[in-house]
């Protein structure tokens, strides 16, 4: 290239000073395919940002008003597709709260174990994807390997690797398989090994740390006012975990800690997730010890639970009962209820209104990542373009639940 040796008059080579509008997404590799961020740039600094969601809107709430309560389970699977089991359990608990039933203790431990396994998967996906977007592809593959080992357990238990639809109102679809406990016990140490391997790859890497530390900081007060929950909230130092502060299932009986960050930057969010995986493993180990090998999993209530197939095919009472539950749906008492659980991203709430029939009048999901994505604008304003990638990655926006 020739050197630029032209005599320039003042102002002739002035750089453009108008702010530049840039579209990131909706199909940008770092936008997880479902979100669009319109940024106004001055140089590489973001002056203004507008986060636009809705590309994965599937009318979940409208669909729920059209079938029976039980028919919602496949939909909630597809809300947070990184941890479908937590959604299943969350929705089942919500309907059970309205029905006033409590599942047997064996089922509670079973739900906890499956739910925590799903939480581990969720955190693996988030941390792995975030590392991958920063150029560290190997940890992503490692974490996927660990996730796959957990998915093998799910496949054995539920028959499906991703969308299990395994929860039921008043129990689970099947009993635990005989090898369940052994499978989980042998998988967990391997998962922890992989977790440590993956962490060792990135946590001493200058590039990785530079892009996480002190980037995307949010204060505790802001996070609380924005309605953040879950890991993203705890990374700011606010200690709130629904499992600890409003225990459901048998969470009050396990000994576990809630990892809390200090600064609320990307690094804190990453590390909170990593430590939460370890805590989940602790919970699972205790739950495995407490869970009985024998005993019922479903509640003993013919209005809620389908009769065994032998009865359906061999007796008229069984046939009628089966028909009534499948065709008319479970009759949920009229009223309204808000039930919440700790999902992979935070508080997953279901606000439901029933008119007493077998069809819900309104099912409102309160998706945790909807609130966190709303805070993204504040976090990236004033930052640089490359900071969007780790910041967006660390809030773990899941299109399915965020866009309903």
């Amino acid at each position: 290239m020739e050197p630029l040796d032209v005599e320039l008059e003042d102002g002739e080579l002035e750089l453009p000073t108008d702010p530049m509008l840039l579209n990131m997404g909706p199909s940008h590799p770092a936008m997880h395919g479902t979100v669009r961020i319109v940024v106004e740039l001055s140089g590489e600094t973001i002056n203004k940002a507008d986060v636009q969601i809705g590309y994965l809107h599937r009318g979940f709430e409208k669909m729920c008003e059209r079938g029976t309560w039980t028919q919602i389970f496949p939909y909630v699977d597809r809300l947070n597709y990184a941890s479908p089991m937590l959604n299943n359990v969350g929705f089942a608990l919500a309907v059970e709260k309205m029905l006033g039933v409590t599942v047997p203790e064996r089922c509670q431990h079973y739900r906890v174990i499956l739910g925590e396994l799903a939480r581990i998967c969720d955190h693996f996906v988030c941390s792995g994807a975030m590392a991958m977007e920063l150029g560290a592809f190997t940890p992503f593959l490692y974490f996927c390997k660990a996730r796959d080992m957990i998915w093998d357990i799910f496949e054995e238990e539920t028959g499906a690797r991703l969308t299990h639809s395994f929860g039921r109102v008043g129990g689970m679809a099947h009993l635990p398989t005989p090898a369940f406990k052994e499978m989980v016990r042998t998988t967990l140490p391997a998962v922890i090994d992989i977790l440590e391997d993956g962490e060792n790859l990135v946590l001493e890497n200058r590039i990785f740390l530079d892009r996480l530390e002190n980037v995307g900081i949010i204060s505790k007060e802001d996070a609380v006012a924005l309605g953040w929950t879950g890991v993203v909230l705890r990374s700011t130092g606010a200690n709130y975990d629904a499992r600890k502060h409003h225990p459901y299932l048998t969470y009050d009986r396990y000994d576990f800690e809630v990892p809390v960050g200090q600064k609320g930057d990307n690094y804190d969010r990453f590390m909170c997730r990593q430590h939460e995986i370890r805590q989940s493993v602790r919970i699972i180990e205790q739950a495995l010890d407490m869970m009985a090998d024998e005993g019922p999993v479903n509640v003993d209530d013919p209005r809620i639970i389908l009769p065994p197939k032998e009865e359906v095919y061999n007796s008229i009472e069984g046939t009628i009962q089966h028909f009534k539950i499948v065709m008319e749906g479970i009759k949920v008492p009229a009223g309204e209820c808000y039930s919440y659980t700790e999902s992979g991203n935070g508080e997953l709430g279901f606000y439901m209104v029933s008119d007493g029939s077998g069809t819900p009048w309104r099912v409102r999901i309160r998706p945790p990542s909807f609130a966190s994505t709303a805070g993204l604008e504040q976090m990236i304003t004033g930052a640089m373009i490359p900071d969007i990638v780790p910041t967006f990655g660390s809030i773990n926006m899941i299109g399915g639940e965020c866009d309903h």
Binding site: K97, A225, G227, D355, R364, R366
Partner: protein, 209 residues
């Protein structure tokens, strides 16, 4: 959830508090739309309430069941005291079919921003004082508000012009609808503007009657 908060609200707002209940253990207060913003501020700032954690804001359409037709529902929580509350307020369509209106609480909890935008998008409830009330999940050209009960689940929206003028998207075909759900068996004949369905059977193979 907590009874303390309900008592405080009762003491402070008196007649503006329409009713309370604690069905399924969720303490609920129904207030008039006039004090909606004031209640939110009170909940956040009162030392006995300290509802600093915004949880959820949504609406329910009780078409044909109740008047006023809409109910705006807010959930909040306290980080320090660990209690929760649900506050509801009725909102009704205006005499000439105007959208229901209620005060915005974005200045109380900034997290309410997107939740109110979603609520406007889905139910057409206008939040007075909201800084940026645009559609959130739907696109700008979308007509109607999909979660209203009188919005047919089969309804199709007109094809949006490609914003730069030439057609890029394939036109809609026959209504695909959602071939499930037991409430919809009689609704298969969805008229599609500009297309005739005469002599054609729908995708389930039912004869047109």
């Amino acid at each position: 959830m907590s009874k303390v908060v309900l008592k405080r609200l009762e003491k402070r707002f008196g007649d503006a508090l329409l009713s309370t209940h604690d069905q399924f253990g969720d303490e609920t207060a129904v207030v008039t739309p006039e004090v909606w913003h004031e209640v939110a501020l009170f909940l956040r700032d009162d030392p006995r309430c300290q509802m600093d954690h915004f949880i959820d804001l949504t609406a329910v359409d009780y078409l044909g069941r109740r008047t006023p037709r809409f109910e705006v529902v807010l959930h909040a929580r306290s980080m320090q005291k660990l209690h929760r509350i649900r506050v509801k307020s009725p909102a009704d369509i205006g005499p000439n079919g105007e959208n229901p209106k209620i005060d915005s609480v974005v200045d109380v909890w900034k997290g309410a921003n997107w939740f109110e935008r979603e609520c406007w998008d889905m139910f057409g409830i206008e939040f007075k004082g909201h800084p940026d009330l645009r559609r959130l999940l739907m696109y700008e050209e979308f007509e109607g508000h999909p979660l209203r009960k009188d919005y047919d689940a089969h309804k199709q929206q007109p094809l949006v012009e490609y914003r730069e003028g030439y057609e890029k998207l394939a036109p809609f075909g026959l209504p695909e609808g959602m071939p499930f759900g037991r409430q919809v068996h009689d609704r298969w004949k969805v008229a599609v503007a500009g297309r005739t369905t005469e002599g054609e059977t729908n995708i389930l193979g039912f004869e047109e009657d």
